[in-house]
């Protein structure tokens, strides 16, 4: 009875769908987004159909059927620059209710992603801050750097391996070359190799990723050359092991035990194998320095290694070791940006506490 009454009323008053069709924003084109409202009083729907046409007179072609009261649809695979018209038809208890026709609407590709304005803004500010510090370093401004224990110990660790006549193991993480942690590790590898060239120690670099292998090999070779000791490069010292995560962990554990490495460096991206590597190293009595931005693995390294570079310290390491003022200046830039972000976080939280939301909406 109730449904019949509602339907009667609906047939008397033209129901409002508020159907809106717009070019889908921030996309590569070929897509139109429809939004509408389910007419008031309609409690139950049997079927909701969406129709499309290239002219307001039709013919309209059915493009989608839903069995639930959906209010949004993205029509994809359309031609750019062409007029399209839409309507929505709801079937409820044998009655059909049609929406007004929406259109013409044209789909176009966009040249700028408006949803990423905040990111762009942030990146620009950060870049400017970094450039400012780089330029001031070029002018010869002295910068103080907090000592990082793990990096200070690097020389000592290499020296100890030399004294003992044992090799140094360098694990550049288990990730791919697209991971910035791997690149940071490769930068450190270059410093370590040059230091090793001075001491004439042996280095072993096992790799999990084929691309990383080709890069580490080149880096080690180049570093020996730039240190003036190309003769020290042993092609057998940098090699590929396996792509299997735990296969790699097994192989590296084996190397630590058989080669009795005196110093183990684990720098880069690590997953669950971190403790297996670090504990095996600890059991052989090697000096171990680890560094990773994998937050979950940090506790394992801290427990089982002598020194651990935490998160951003891994990225700072190359600048720290190079002693080049320009590289070091970027660390100051990082600190300035961190201060700015901290300020924004405090402001955002404070505004949020007082129920002011416009500030959060900026992001």
């Amino acid at each position: 009875m109730g449904v019949a009454l509602i339907l009667f009323l609906l047939s008397q008053v033209s129901p409002t769908f508020n159907l809106r069709a717009v070019d889908t924003p921030n996309d590569a084109g070929g897509s139109i987004t429809l939004t509408w409202e389910i007419p008031e009083g309609l409690e139950h729907i049997d079927r909701l159909e969406i129709y499309r046409s290239e002219s307001p007179e039709g013919p309209f072609e059915k493009i989608k059927t839903y069995l639930s009261p959906v209010t949004r649809f993205e029509d994809m695979g359309l031609k750019n620059g062409k007029d399209y018209f839409y309507k929505v038809v709801i079937t409820s208890g044998g009655e059909t209710i049609e929406s007004e026709i929406a259109g013409p609407v044209i789909s176009r590709p966009q040249w700028f992603h408006k949803g990423r304005v905040t990111i762009l803004f942030g990146v620009l500010i950060y870049t400017l801050i970094l450039l400012y510090f780089i330029l001031s370093a070029k002018k010869g401004k002295e910068l103080y750097l907090r000592p990082i224990a793990g990096l200070k110990a690097l020389d000592e660790a290499i020296g100890r391996a030399t004294e003992m006549g044992k090799p140094i193991l360098y694990v550049p993480g288990l990730s791919t070359i697209s991971d910035v942690a791997t690149i940071a590790s490769i930068n450190i590898l270059s410093h370590v190799t040059r230091k090793i060239a001075e001491y004439e120690t042996k280095i072993i670099v096992p790799n999990r990723n084929p691309v990383v292998y080709t890069v580490t090999r080149e880096v080690v070779k180049e570093a020996f050359t730039s240190a003036g000791r190309p003769d020290l490069f042993d092609p057998d010292s940098v090699f590929y092991v396996t792509d299997s995560q735990f296969g790699y962990a097994a192989a590296v554990s084996g190397i630590m035990i058989r080669e009795k490495t005196a110093t183990n460096l684990f720098l880069g991206m690590f997953w669950a194998e971190s403790l297996i590597l670090a504990e095996t190293g600890a059991s052989t009595g090697a000096i171990q320095i680890a560094g990773t931005d994998a937050v979950t693995q940090l506790p394992f390294f801290i427990t089982a290694c002598d020194y651990t570079l935490i998160g951003e310290e891994l990225y700072a390491a190359s600048a720290y070791l190079s002693k080049e003022p320009v590289l070091r200046a970027t660390l100051k830039g990082q600190d300035a940006m961190k201060f700015l972000l901290g300020l924004l976080l405090i402001l955002g939280s404070a505004f949020g506490l007082f129920g002011i939301t416009w500030f959060q909406k900026l992001f």
Partner: protein, 205 residues
């Protein structure tokens, strides 16, 4: 000198293009992105050839050293055995390759993974010491978490498991986010240094 300049120029160009690409949804930029991804796949495939070559050569040379010969022989035999199985008899379900994978490779991987439980116990025993206030706090939260996460904790006191979850969700997450912000900034600075050619250590110094 040119040997240095060419890679630096390529890095600068690609770094700049890919940064700009991120902000452009237009098909032109999408095509460029797909093109770069295809190139990456190509480079990676070639790298696999080099990598497997290095693996074979490395172990081949080691066969001559008695202390390593056995391990290298096992590696080489397994490598060629699986490759021959795959190439000549297929890798479909039910094939010998699949059976070897399921009954040898998977249990071996699971064994390595399960070593974690043993190593965690020995690492905790060796290194978890109440040396100072911070270490004691760490120790206490570890206790609460370890008890709170097992059913026994709940029966000791129902609030213990809530407290354990609170430790995970509040102090733990706050610290994690702090580290992540630093990591994010570090990543960006490293990328920028490489794109601008300030950092050249990845070229070997």
């Amino acid at each position: 000198m040119l040997q240095r300049k060419i890679p630096l120029f390529i890095v600068f160009l690609m770094g700049f293009l890919m940064t700009v690409q991120f902000y452009i949804p237009h098909p032109v930029s999408q095509t460029l992105y797909k093109y770069v991804l295809d190139w990456m796949n190509g480079v990676a495939s070639m790298a696999i050839v080099l990598a497997v070559g290095s693996l074979i050569m490395h172990h081949w040379r080691r066969l001559k050293k008695p202390e390593f010969a056995l391990y290298s022989a096992v590696t080489l035999v397994s490598l060629f055995f699986m490759a021959i199985l795959g190439f000549f008899f297929g890798i479909r379900e039910g094939s010998l390759f699949q059976k070897m994978f399921e009954n040898v490779q998977i249990p071996l991987q699971a064994t390595m993974f399960s070593l974690l439980a043993f190593y965690m116990a020995s690492a905790a025993y060796r290194a978890f010491r109440a040396r100072n206030l911070e270490a004691t706090l760490l120790l206490l939260s570890a206790f609460i978490l370890m008890i709170g996460i097992i059913p026994l904790g709940y029966y000791i006191h129902p609030r213990i498991s809530d407290f354990a979850l609170w430790i995970l969700n509040v102090p733990n997450l706050a610290a994690k986010r702090g580290i992540m912000i630093g990591v994010g900034l570090g990543m960006m600075a490293t990328s920028l240094k490489i794109i601008l050619g300030i950092e050249r250590n990845w070229l070997g110094g």
